[in-house]
Amino acid sequence: MTNITPLIETSHLVKRYGDKVAVHDVSLEVHGGEIFGFLGPNGAGKTTTIKTIVGLLQPTSGTVKVAGYDVQAQPLPAKAACGYVPDEPNLYAKLSARELLRFVGDLYEMERPQVERRLDELLRLFDLTEAGDDLIDSYSHGMRQKTAIAAALMHDPQVLVLDEPTVGLDPKSARLIKDILRQLADRGAAVFLSTHILEIAEHMCDRIGIINKGALIAVGTMSELRALGKGETSLEDIFLTLTGGAEYAAIAEVLR
């Protein structure tokens, strides 16, 4: 059920690194109850956009609102409403998953009994109960990724932003993530995820945004994208046509 109030709203977002424009005039809205897929080729500006949404980067111009709060002007309530899973699960290697989740609970000023209950639930959910007291140092990439996702879910966020969440996950865990994201959206949260796996975007996302060279070049539901595509039925074709990968697909065809 899509809510009318946007929980993520970027308006004319621009981010420059010196002369290089990483994000150019990106305006989009993600509503509660919606899973928004953010696609784009490598270096298109996906991660930069995501980092400005979660407050890791200050935009050069434009505004970002999360749960109605301006991320720059009112960072604390905006961040309190948001959960973030980065593309690289860099976590404190010398903490265990249990200690990390407890620490995250403290950062979000959660009540201690709630923290304990929630971390037990999440460790069980992500099949980390047994490894919960081991140091993260000894975790595989997939386990770290699951721990990062559990950390983002600790405070039951209204807005969840995920940068390539299924990278390094086994099929069972990837499926679990998809189900969790769907459940979160059904409960009214806004989910914003970037992915290179177009199949995930096609089947999971309510709406899709495609960014190329820093600019948002298409936003809409799958059917809306197809309607405008005039012939292209799969998201892969639409994506390649829009982002200039069609020639390489043709070359790959010749090589077969």
């Binding site: 200050q58 010398k94 249990r98 995250v104 950062l107 070049i217 405008l228 005039k230 070359i251």
Partner: protein, 635 residues
């Protein structure tokens, strides 16, 4: 739904995908055709097969390739460096050359003097002079062996390029050899910086023949290879038992403690001897110990003796010793190479797999257990986020041995100074009796507060490390704090307390122990504790502010946490603050005591003056950098 053309600046413009495709079809066709020609499969299957099977080359070919790659990286790094850094490299090179020349000239002069007939009339230094090459070669060998261990551990197991290299069609032996050479080159250069000019100085002083000089280089290179080979075997053996990362952590701790003990060896020696002067008997004893290295049973002595004999024209024995040396080196190196293939791969594989330590999950502590009155009070005063951050930082520091090595240094220093103080009995040295009485009284008064000053010094070192690197130590995990609803104030308070509280405990504990041992008065103890608490607060504020300004989140080695200039400036600023604060705390009581007035009034005046400055420094510098905190981690 909208489709926005990227070239348009003012709002999305609806275009159809087919029109975009049409635009793409207008792109130069030639480019695609060229790509197709380049990548399309060829019909000549034989030539394809030949291309797929790499030609067989010797080991040297692959090692050369890998070393060229390393050279390319170093050259590229230099080429893309800022002009300031390039000038720095140039100056460093000139400095190294100056050291080489300086050591050579000094050795030449010293060894010529030791060989002079005038000196020979007083003492016979012939056995020592004959042992000089053996001593130098032995020291160089063990220096390369010791320093290579850490570098080889890093190069062979912890370097980020191993996935790439081991999956490439390059023999593992070549990878091992290239890594070995890359690792020992810097150490060899460093060791040669001192050993080469000394051995050349020996040659010049003894007027050795010309063949001696290239042989010195050959012997040093050979021994460095042998030392590195042995170090690599040691590394590979240990890594089979203990994970490489853990070995690196333990090594960091050992090296840190050892370096500190070396730096304080003079103090330790004085403390043990009770005097800083070395008697002639001790000197001759030390010389005889060094001379004992020149035993015919030591393979390292063969190298030194070979060089000496060749230099002095005893060709047969010289060639024999050198042949033995080079043969031994060959055996060690061949053994290292043969063992490498088996041990190296399995050890490296263990690094990739990781070792999960199975522990019994600790049950969560019941909530009721935590509601002791003191804990409840702390929970009410200190926000959960600040408490969580402090707990996390202390836990991570305790578990990371690399950080621990930096933290134990102040504790070792504390023990050394405590022993010295206790042995000294807190009395001013008697001197030679020429100092006036008032000066001796002033000295005695100053020494009363010496305990406080030393407590402050010991704590200050710990504080500098904790406060200056409070933010940097978050490293790549900083995103967790930055995306959390945590204000800059809370973050600064947490980092301040992480630095301040352990230092306060250490400083006060140290002062308490020393005061009890020296039976200091209660008034002096209370004054000292207040000074320690206030001084540390100010130093924490200054160091924390510099830590924010010079924050570096992109580090792999904890020693690279702060940027050089800011780290130095921070240390200077906090040292300057400490001197001013100490003067304000101590001048009034010492001054009033000298004038025969109440020392207590002096102490109270000192506390007010020093306290104001300390609290100012504790609060104002962090406030000045508060606006920088939300921007930490941004380019």
């Amino acid at each position: 739904m909208s489709l926005a053309h990227p070239s348009r600046e003012h709002g999305p413009v609806k275009v159809s995908i087919s029109s975009l495709r049409a635009q793409r079809s207008n792109l130069p066709h030639g480019a695609t055709v060229r790509l197709l020609r380049r990548y399309a499969p060829r019909n000549d299957l034989k030539s394809d097969f030949d291309r797929a099977m790499p030609r067989k080359y010797g080991l040297g070919h692959y090692v050369g390739k890998l070393l060229r790659l390393r050279g390319l990286i170093i050259f590229s790094d230099f080429r893309h460096a800022k002009l300031r850094r390039k000038i720095g490299y140039l100056l460093a090179t000139l400095f190294v050359l100056a050291i080489l020349v300086g050591v050579f000239v000094a050795s030449w002069a010293l060894l010529s003097f030791l060989r002079s007939p005038q000196l020979a009339e007083f003492m016979d230094l012939t056995p020592f002079l004959a042992s000089v090459p053996v001593i130098i070669v032995t020291v160089a060998f063990f220096a390369v062996l010791g320093t290579s261990f850490a570098l080889l551990l890093q190069a062979l197991y912890l370097a980020g390029d191993m996935d790439f290299l081991l999956s490439a069609p390059v023999p593992i032996r070549a990878v091992f050899l290239a890594k070995l050479l890359e690792a020992i080159l810097p150490n060899f250069a460093l060791v040669s910086l001192f050993s080469l000019p000394v051995l050349y100085g020996l040659g010049a002083a003894g007027r050795y023949n010309l063949l001696y000089y290239p042989l010195v280089v050959l012997v040093l290179v050979a021994l460095a290879l042998a030392a590195a080979g042995l170090a690599s075997l040691l590394v590979m053996s240990i890594v089979r038992l203990v994970p490489a990362r853990r070995v690196a952590e333990v090594l960091g701790l050992i090296v840190g403690v050892f370096s500190l003990l070396c730096s304080q060896s003079n103090l330790l020696f004085n403390s043990a001897q009770g005097s800083s002067e070395i008697s002639s008997a001790q000197a001759s004893q030390a010389l005889s110990v060094l001379t004992r290295l020149n035993t015919p049973w030591s393979p390292l002595a063969w190298a030194g003796r070979g060089l000496l004999d060749m230099g002095e024209g005893r060709w047969l024995t010289g060639a024999g010793f050198l042949a033995l040396t080079l043969g031994g080196v060959g055996v060690i190196f061949a053994l290292a190479l043969r063992t490498a293939e088996r041990l190296y791969y399995t050890g490296w594989a263990r690094v990739q797999v990781g070792t999960r330590r199975k522990k019994v999950a600790r049950p969560s502590r019941p909530v009721a257990e935590r509601s002791a009155p003191l804990v409840a009070l702390i929970e009410r005063i200190v926000p959960a986020a600040v408490r969580g951050l402090i707990g996390k930082d202390l836990l991570v520091m305790r578990r990371d041995l690399r950080s621990m090595s930096q933290l134990v240094s102040p504790l070792i220093l504390g023990v050394i100074y405590a022993v010295m103080l206790v042995r000294g009995g807190g009395q001013a040295p008697a001197g030679r009796g020429e100092a006036p009485l008032w000066f001796m009284q002033a000295m005695q008064n100053v020494l009363v507060y010496g305990n406080v000053a030393i407590s402050l010094f010991v704590g200050w070192m710990l504080l500098s490390r904790l406060a200056m690197m409070g933010f940097s130590q978050e490293g790549k995990n900083y995103w967790l704090l930055k995306t959390a609803p945590l204000s800059a104030d809370k973050l600064l308070i947490a980092k301040f307390l992480v630095a301040y509280l352990p230092t306060l405990v250490l400083g006060c504990g140290f002062l308490l122990a020393i005061s009890l041992l020296q039976r200091a008065s209660l008034g002096a103890l209370l004054f000292g504790l207040a000074v320690v608490a206030l001084c540390f607060a100010g130093a924490a504020g200054v160091n924390l502010a510099f830590g924010v300004v010079g924050v570096n989140l992109e580090w792999n080695d904890p020693q690279h946490m702060t940027r050089g200039t800011t780290g130095c400036l921070g240390m200077l600023a906090s040292a300057g603050y400490m001197l001013i604060a100490l003067a304000l705390f101590f001048v009034p009581p010492v001054g009033l005591a000298l004038l025969g007035r109440s020392e207590t009034i002096g102490q109270l005046t000192g506390l007010v003056l020093g306290g104001i400055v300390s609290l100012f420094c504790a609060i104002v510098p962090p406030l000045l950098v508060r606006d920088r905190v939300p921007r930490i981690g941004e380019v």
